[in-house]
């Protein structure tokens, strides 16, 4: 009964999505107030029914209703309740449902906070979001129904993939998807602007906070995914250049470019068509990511679903969405151009450079990700593109970018005099270069050119990000404080600096050793002694494990005991490595058990990872900067305007 309710609710949601996608757009075209008034109630109704459907699926999981095929394949009686809930989005069908739920939630948020927008405009935005929702609902109902029955029901389920039984991965997909889907809002704003043929600075001001929120969710989602891969995939890497990771990273790069381009459009009314193109690109890359992950087209550890029918549907949807948006762009964009000017040394120039470099990085990653597919299609054999390529492809545009950030953020709009800029930045530059040379050479004991450039760039941004907040803190009474927007920018850039330092140090000074250890034996790695004290058997709720006890000492002094496990899940029989990690702000010590090698010996992986926490911490600080910036007063004025433009459209919050 419950699954059928969920299925019907999803069909009703599709009907409402069709209303929401068709009527408001038609109403905006004909200037028909009654048709436009459908937008908000339809959006709220759609959200309610998608939520009912989602709850029904979660209920089936909690109830262990194995007559539902999806539940039978991805759950089990002994699975802890928390993972029964996260199993809802643990595989293809449910994660599509989550995607739709989040899209509906974003749409409701847009309809709630858009009462100050012109009516025709908000109708178009909500209408475009409705059409996107139609596409995903159709996809789910036609090719990936999560409520499909399995008769007769098996006595127990096949269990959730053990890799996914982890708190990090329970929250990673919802946040990542919130980011992906959030770019749909920026996309809808772009389409609405092109349909109305009117793109002014107010448009950019409305679009900015939405884009920032989407971007910060994506930032946190990617960071969580990286963190999960680090401790759960078992082997201590934090980024693998897996196509699925690239699929989330490309929209992030395009979204970062979009945020900066929007700043120019808002402040100066420039870069309009460029901003539109980036809004289309960011969402298109999100869709492409979904296509790559969900169609099973790629060879990847992440691709759980493999089905050509699904692939064709998403490809068609992708073609329709991107093609339609680009056609509209080609038709409308030329009429939107602006004629304001700026000097070579100005904020505009630096933001232009930012955009060019980010787009280059995105393109290079796209090439590396799609090349194996293209080569295979033209019958050039099977190839794969190795991490070194991605590393070069990213370092070349992004290192100059990181160095330029520091100058750009202290440059005035329109025109900047050269001397005051130099006077302001001379000291941080000298300190950054000194720190960039001293820290790697004397703290870690090695000099390398790329390493020094990387750490210098990191320290440079850390320092220059402090200038504006410090100035505000020490300002004279009565002078205005730093705006939230500028503070958010400083905080986010500070995060970039932390990230740059983390990446530079950990890639240069990471020590990794695979060794064979017998109980009582010890080995020295990265200045620490690791001793295998013993092994014992441990039973978990749905797994059995061998647990090693490893004592870590530094110069003979006790540091910590780690207990890495090798688990075997009872139903799926898959072995799983649970690493033991000793966390500290400036280094991680990482221990993972391999296999028994005979003669009581076990293979053990030992790693010393300096500054690795700065990578994720930097990403969280960037996202926090986004929150500060998005809460700027000038956006709130728009969002909270209690001026309903149509009397019949008061949507419940």
């Amino acid at each position: 009964m419950i699954p059928e309710v969920g299925h019907f609710a999803l069909i009703l949601a599709l009907s409402l999505a069709i209303c929401q996608g068709v009527l408001p757009l038609l109403g905006a075209y004909r200037n028909d107030v009654a048709m436009m008034a459908v937008a908000r109630p339809a959006a709220v109704g759609q959200f309610v029914f998608v939520a009912i459907s989602f709850i029904c699926l979660a209920w089936s999981f909690l109830d262990s209703d194995f007559s539902v095929l999806y539940v039978a394949n991805h759950s089990q009686l002994a699975l802890p309740a928390i993972y029964k809930i996260s199993a809802v989005w643990g595989a293809h069908e449910g994660s599509m449902l989550l995607w739709i739920l989040l899209l509906a939630a974003w749409t409701v948020a847009v309809s709630r906070y858009s009462s100050a927008l012109p009516d025709t405009f908000s109708s178009r935005v909500i209408g475009v979001l409705g059409l996107l929702s139609c596409g995903f609902l159709l996809f789910t109902l036609l090719t990936s129904n999560p409520f499909e029955r399995l008769i007769p029901a098996p006595p127990d389920g096949a269990d959730l993939n053990p890799l996914l039984q982890d708190p990090g991965l329970a929250i990673h997909p919802p946040i990542l998807y919130a980011g992906y889907v959030g770019f749909a809002v920026a996309f809808a704003f772009a389409i609405a602007a092109m349909l109305s043929g009117n793109l002014d600075r107010a448009w950019a001001r409305w679009t900015r906070p939405w884009t920032t929120w989407a971007w910060l969710f994506l930032t946190v989602g990617i960071a969580l995914g990286s963190w999960w891969a680090y401790y759960e995939l078992g082997w201590g890497g934090w980024w693998f250049w897996d196509p699925v990771e690239n699929a989330s990273f490309m929209p992030w790069l395009a979204g970062t470019a979009l945020i900066h381009s929007l700043a120019v459009t808002e402040k100066r009314g420039l870069f309009k068509s460029w901003t539109l193109l980036l809004a289309i690109s960011a969402f298109s890359l999100s869709l492409l990511g979904t296509f790559l992950v969900r169609s099973g087209i790629l060879i990847s550890v992440h691709s759980f679903a493999t089905d050509p029918e699904r692939g064709m549907f998403i490809l068609g949807f992708l073609g329709l969405t991107i093609g339609g948006a680009l056609a509209l762009f080609a038709w409308r964009a030329p009429s939107l151009d602006s004629s304001a000017g700026f000097r070579a040394l100005s904020r505009e120039t630096f933001l232009l450079l930012n955009n060019v470099l980010l787009v280059i990085a995105t393109t290079l990653i796209l090439i590396g990700t799609l090349a194996p597919l293209v080569v295979e299609v033209i019958d050039g054999g099977k190839i794969s593109v190795g991490p070194p390529w991605f590393e070069i492809a990213l370092a070349i545009p992004l290192l100059p970018l990181v160095l330029l950030i520091g100058v750009g953020m202290h440059t005035a709009w329109r025109s900047q005099a050269f001397k005051p800029l130099v006077a302001q930045l001379k000291l941080p530059a000298i300190v950054a270069i000194a720190a960039g040379i001293i820290v790697p050479t004397f703290v870690y004991g090695r000099f390398g050119l790329l390493l020094v450039i990387g750490t210098t760039a990191g320290f440079w941004i850390l320092l220059v990000s402090l200038i504006q907040p410090m100035r505000s803190w020490r300002r004279k009474p009565g002078t205005p404080a730093i705006t939230r927007g500028a503070l958010g920018m400083s905080v986010a850039h500070f995060g970039v600096g932390m990230f740059a330092i983390g990446v530079s140090i950990v890639s240069a000074f990471n020590v990794e050793a695979d060794v064979s250890l017998r109980p009582g034996e010890q080995v020295s790695v990265g200045g620490y002694e690791f001793e295998l004290r013993g092994l014992r058997n441990v039973d978990g709720p749905n797994y059995q494990a061998v647990e090693g006890e490893i004592e870590i000492r530094k110069n003979g002094e006790f540091v910590a005991k780690l207990r890495p496990q090798k688990r075997t899940y009872i139903i799926q029989k898959n072995p799983m490595t649970e690493a033991g990690i000793l966390v500290s702000w400036n280094r991680d010590l990482f221990v993972a058990l391999g296999d028994p090698l005979g003669n009581d010996a076990w293979s053990v992986r030992l790693q010393y990872k300096p500054m690795i926490r700065f990578i994720w911490l930097g990403a969280f600080v960037m996202a926090f900067g986004g929150i500060i910036a998005a809460s700027d007063r000038r956006y709130r004025l728009y969002a909270n305007a209690k001026r309903p433009l149509i009397k019949t459209s008061e949507a419940p919050a």
């Binding site: 993939n161 890799l163 078992g234 082997w235 060879i299 550890v301 759980f304 004629s339 304001a340 000017g341 700026f342 000097r343 070579a344 120039t349 232009l352 450079l353 060019v356 470099l357 787009v359 280059i360 393109t363 290079l364 090439i367 590396g368 090349a371 054999g381 099977k382 190839i383 794969s384 593109v385 190795g386 070194p388 390529w389 070069i392 492809a393 070349i396 545009p397 695979d514 060794v515 064979s516 017998r518 799926q572 029989k573 898959n574 072995p575 799983m576 490595t577 993972a592 391999g594 296999d595 090698l597 005979g598 003669n599 009581d600 010996a601 293979s603 992986r605």
Partner: protein, 154 residues
Amino acid sequence: MKPRQQRMLAVGLAAVGVLLATGLTLRAFQENMMFFVEISDVVQGKVPDERNFRVGGVVVDGSVTREPGELEVEFTLTDLENELVVTYDGILPDLFREGQGIIAHGRMGDGGKFIADEVLAKHDENYMPPEVAESLAKHTAAKEATIVADKKEQ
């Protein structure tokens, strides 16, 4: 800056970026492209010179051997027609086991053994890497064809 100059600057920067990207792409790409080579081709010596490549196949039952207590391991991969001995000095992935389809990355060493620097197994035990599945299907078909041909000759 006037709009015209501004546009020229944008176009100029984009052109420089594209040129840089193209040059870099072509050079670095060739260096970092890794080919997947079928075992039967490896056995016949058809391997890329002086560079690493990937091989894939099924781990032959009972072929995984190591000196007790030593990390270094040796196993045999098959595409169901030919076999290749692989050595690897490191920790095998969780899902590595006999009868499983895996991919190894490395180069040919002396004595016709493949020296792997990375071994990949998929995270779903029923899942066969697509390259391996294709290679197996091809060579199973080839083997059956030769058996049929042999029978005809007899």
